[in-house]
């Protein structure tokens, strides 16, 4: 099972490869795109991108030197006609650097890249919300070599999709960055902090009401308040336990390490560490954690032993026990 790791600088590749990364992914907001469209919307993230083609070329060469591959994200939720053409041009430039794959979030662009792109591997982004076998089959029919599952899918659901699509590779989230909503159905912008930031982190207050216009009963009021309090706690976990780490730098937050044996058994090809914008130390520690668990699978340890090891990595079993820090709590 391959470990897919984010980078935002070529210098991150060596330590991450040393830690156990097999594949890298990155984004770029090149100056000619910004000049042409007066926008930095090349991909899903406004930050954590390369700013020059030279950096992208250097990263490609460095990844190959380390025996790893590099994919470029073209995973904006949607591209207008002009932007799609520019994205295809960008794909050709990346191919000329020796790039390996493209991660694509717009189904129209995915099809266009398959038809008249540079022939790089195509990965259907989690933004394409593949929750069933037919969706995976469609992406494969279009030309995707790999489908990246969204965060909100169970391992059992993955298994059905994988069995039905044996010619396709599948990738699943394993660590970091928990969206509250479904990425593929989120039509918001991660605004600057002064405007509220990501909508799921924004300070919304909820005023509950019955849709039949009857007043809430005291029982309903209490239940809704308790549910809201639990939701606030869940959000804290979802956002990496206050964006915290252990004393030795292991990140808290959305985690599927316990599920790794299950994902491997289901035939998941690769696991994805999220967070291009994170710092290098966080990425290195993330890779180390995934590798530690993967090595135990390779060594033939029992799933129970692997789970115990995974739960012990951060030395905070209380956080694991909450079930709120898990990508795949059903495992």
């Amino acid at each position: 099972m391959r470990i897919v790791t984010p980078i935002s600088a070529a210098a991150e590749i060596a330590p991450l490869a040393e830690a156990g990364a097999d594949e890298f992914y990155c984004g770029i907001v090149p100056p000619d795109w910004t000049a042409r469209f007066r926008s930095s919307g090349v991909n899903r993230r406004l930050f954590g991108n390369f700013a020059t083609y030279a950096e992208l070329e250097e990263a490609t060469a460095t990844a190959h030197d380390k025996g790893c591959s590099l994919s470029l994200v073209l995973n904006a939720p949607h591209y207008a006609a002009e932007q799609a053409e520019a994205a295809i041009e960008l794909a050709y430039r990346f191919a000329a650097f020796g790039g390996d794959g493209l991660i694509v979030g717009d189904i129209g662009l995915l099809a266009q890249l398959a038809e008249r792109g540079p022939g790089l591997r195509l990965h259907a982004s989690s933004l394409l919300s593949c929750r069933n076998s037919e969706a995976a089959a469609l992406y494969g029919e279009i030309g995707a070599h790999r489908v990246i599952f969204p965060r909100d899918i169970t391992p059992a659901e993955m298994a059905r999709v994988i069995v039905a699509n044996p010619a396709t590779e599948f990738e699943a989230f394993i660590l970091n960055d928990g969206c509250v909503f479904e990425e593929g159905s989120c039509h918001t912008i991660h605004l600057p902090g002064r405007l509220g930031g990501p909508i799921c982190l924004d300070g919304y207050q909820s005023a509950h009401a019955r849709v039949d216009d009857q007043p809430l009963s005291p029982t309903e009021t209490d239940a809704l308040a308790a549910n809201d309090e639990a939701h606030r706690r869940w959000l804290w976990y979802r956002f990496s336990c206050g964006f915290a780490t252990t004393e030795d730098g292991l990140p808290f937050g959305p985690c599927g390490l316990c599920a790794l044996p299950t994902l491997a058994a289901h035939g998941v090809t690769a696991v994805k560490i999220a967070g291009r914008e994170g710092n290098t130390a966080r990425k290195v520690k993330s890779v180390e954690m995934v590798r530690a668990v993967r090595d135990r699978i390779a060594a033939g340890e029992t799933p129970a032993a692997i789970t115990e090891h995974a739960r012990g990595l951060r030395r905070r079993p209380d956080l694991c026990d909450s079930d709120y820090m898990c990508y795949y709590p059903e495992v």
């Binding site: 926008s39 069933n132 037919e134 909100d152 918001t188 005023a207 809704l224 639990a230």
Partner: protein, 270 residues
């Protein structure tokens, strides 16, 4: 000429057909039945039959609206779709379900739902400049070619904040537009659907709920906001915004210009 449709998510809302609303002097001529946002709200066979009968009683054309689905949801749809008369329109919000319709139910008429027709719809945007960050590609050749490949000749859209009349002009598709609410974002995890669950199981995906979304909704406000937001409401797993006056005017203008063939008016759901 613009046609008016009434959207009813759950069979319990079908009594609203007795007094259908009007929009710009037009009475509803079509029923959009079913939930777009949650697999749990897929209708039962009995509920779907009731909706079909109600549409017939009131002389309405019929559309079945569907959400993103797992394979289990696809299996449920496989059992429901044979209940639909040939030629019935089915709104798909899942690419896989569109493929299933194309390959296994060619007698039905597929429409691409608003979850597939992506555009920036953040109710907090302070200006139209922000929509330029990621302009939508709903009418882009790559996207429309994909829809055509899947047999779609109609798309459903929302009125995005700062939408212009041009946003609704499709070169190849009939355009339906939802009003007076647009959806901003949706989760699979559901806050209100976790109301009756034990604490440790709340907000996980794939669990059964008591369909609390049919009983409650929540006004969502940002007291410390630096901008004037569109009125925002959470229903079930989805955040909606209500059209501002100028957005409604844009929709009316697009309809008058012939760009919007159908307006889908919210019935029992935002």
């Amino acid at each position: 000429m613009t046609v008016l449709a009434l959207a009813i998510t759950d069979a319990s809302g079908l009594d609203r057909l007795a007094a259908p609303p009007e929009f710009a002097g037009i009475t509803a001529g079509r029923l959009h039945f079913g939930g777009e946002f949650c697999e749990t709200l897929l209708p039962t066979a009995a509920g779907l039959k009731r909706a079909l009968a109600a549409a017939e009683t009131f002389g309405l054309a019929f559309t079945l609206a569907t959400p993103i689905v797992s394979d289990a949801g696809l299996a449920r749809l496989d059992r429901l779709l044979p209940l639909l008369p040939p030629g019935t329109e089915v709104t798909a919000n899942d690419w896989g379900f569109l493929r299933r319709l194309r390959d296994h139910f060619p007698d039905l008429v597929p429409t691409a739902g608003r979850l597939l027709c992506k555009q920036v719809k953040d109710p907090r945007l302070p200006s139209a400049e922000w929509t330029r960050l990621q302009p939508h590609g709903i009418h882009a050749p790559g996207f429309t070619a994909m829809l055509a490949r899947l047999g779609c000749r109609r798309i459903e859209m929302d009125v995005a904040p700062f939408a212009t009349e041009a946003d609704f002009h499709s070169p190849s598709m009939a355009v339906s537009v939802h009003a007076p609410f647009g959806f901003t974002t949706k989760g699979r995890s559901c806050r209100i659907g976790s109301l009756a669950l034990p604490t440790s199981g709340k907000f996980a995906i794939g669990h059964d709920c008591r369909k609390e979304c049919l009983r409650f909704q929540s006004a969502a406000t940002r007291p410390d906001a630096a901008t004037a937001d569109l009125a925002t409401v959470q229903r079930g797993n989805t955040l909606f915004y209500r059209h501002a006056t100028e957005m409604a005017a844009t929709l009316r203008a697009a309809a008058a210009a012939g760009a919007v063939e159908r307006v889908i008016l919210a019935g029992d759901w935002p």
